[in-house]
């Protein structure tokens, strides 16, 4: 019987992508919670290059990097395909997934760790990125079309984190400016597998508030 383990942390949005993919496909797996301040021998053994989570261990063999893991999962378990069959559509899905990590995340991180004028300037990048996403969603409910797919899982952290960000005073999106992206976020969070796998909201808010305060404190020491 196939043995699937996922090394993760409760708050990592990269790990959450993998949880979503496995659950959408109905794959049974063991979750192993890692303490990143005290990494387990298992983690160090299975991801010697980066020593990071998530790591998927399937029948004893490890795969790292969340987007690489997602493609492996899609190729291994055929139910609920994440990537389309058509090569051009696959290329597009991969493009938006990469855009999420290369551009969207750094831009939101940029506003998350700043305030005042610096933050205002950082917002320009966030808005530019959202306008690209807005354009891509024209005529579509999800990035994957009628159902969520690879690109939705890759970008889904935005939907998931935007509420926590707002609660700690960082409002990244306005419904009027980006109606399609806002609608996508709501629809994405309604998907049962997504809804039932979200990290505990209050715990995440507390953690994120702590991180933001640390960065703001470091930038403006008293």
């Amino acid at each position: 019987m196939a043995e699937v383990k996922l090394l993760k942390t409760w708050s990592s949005h990269f790990a959450l992508r993998v949880v979503w993919a496995l659950k959408l496909k109905g794959v049974q797996f063991d979750s192993i919670e890692e303490d990143l301040s005290n990494k387990s021998p298992l983690l160090l053994q299975h991801n010697p290059v980066y020593k990071k989570i998530p790591v998927l261990v399937h029948n004893g063999r490890a795969i790292s990097e969340s987007l690489v893991i997602l493609e492996y999962i899609d190729e291994t378990w055929k139910q609920y395909p994440l990537l389309p069959d058509d090569p051009y559509e696959r290329a597009r899905a991969r493009f938006w997934a990469k855009f999420s990590d290369d551009k969207v995340f750094p831009s939101i991180w940029g506003v998350f760790i700043k305030q005042g004028k610096e933050q205002e300037e950082a917002f320009a990048q966030v808005f530019e990125n959202f306008s690209f996403l807005e354009e891509e969603l024209k005529g579509k409910k999800f990035f994957g079309g009628e159902k969520i797919g690879y690109a939705d899982l890759a970008l889904g952290w935005i939907a998931e984190r935007v509420f926590e960000l707002e609660e700690i005073g960082v409002k990244v999106i306005e419904k009027e400016k980006f109606p399609l992206v806002s609608a996508w976020m709501q629809e994405f969070l309604k998907v049962p597998v997504i809804k039932e796998s979200l990290p505990p909201h209050e715990k995440l808010v507390t953690k994120m508030r702590g991180i933001r305060e640390k960065y703001l404190g470091a930038a403006h020491p008293k």
Partner: protein, 216 residues
Amino acid sequence: MADEVVLLDFWPSMFGMRVRIALAEKGVKYEYKEEDLKNKSPLLLQMNPVHKKIPVLIHNGRPVCESSIIVQYIDEVWKDKAPLLPSDRYQRAQARFWVDFIDKKMYDASTKTWTTEGEEQEAAKKEFFEALKTLEGQLGDKPFFGGDNFGYLDLSLIPFYYTYETFGKSSIEAECPKFKAWVKRCLQRETIAKALPDEKKVLEHASGMRKNLVLE
């Protein structure tokens, strides 16, 4: 109907080279369009509005961007010849992981090696060569990273050979002999020899870049 394939590229781009090699391996006929990156064409801006970067592959009017994505696209469309990604899905995951590693760990270090000096350059060189040694561990005794056959990881890495030829010739010979042998094997392939620009031209271009940064 004949395929129409256009490649928007910039001749010294390591990412562009990956795509040229992939197209050559598959025997795909295409039109090469040189971009002036200081004066980007309307076509480039239209086909890659998000990043405005090369390479862009335009296949029957539809653009594909990002070199790693383009190469996988090429492999999936022209699938009857010269498979680039491994057939085993675990090996495929490993190939994707290592190409991502090259992009994360080697590209910036390589660029800094060419464009900085002093301590910054030494740090960049160190980072670059450390990454290279990690990759050499993956090669083992295989002729190519793809095993017996040249593949996705091989073509993603070979364009960096200019950096290690220029900045670490003696260190390579001393510390990465398998790597050196692999480079030689790759450069013997006609597809690569055609896709990679002349070493002298690349050096001249890099000197030009350094002068523009007022380093010399």
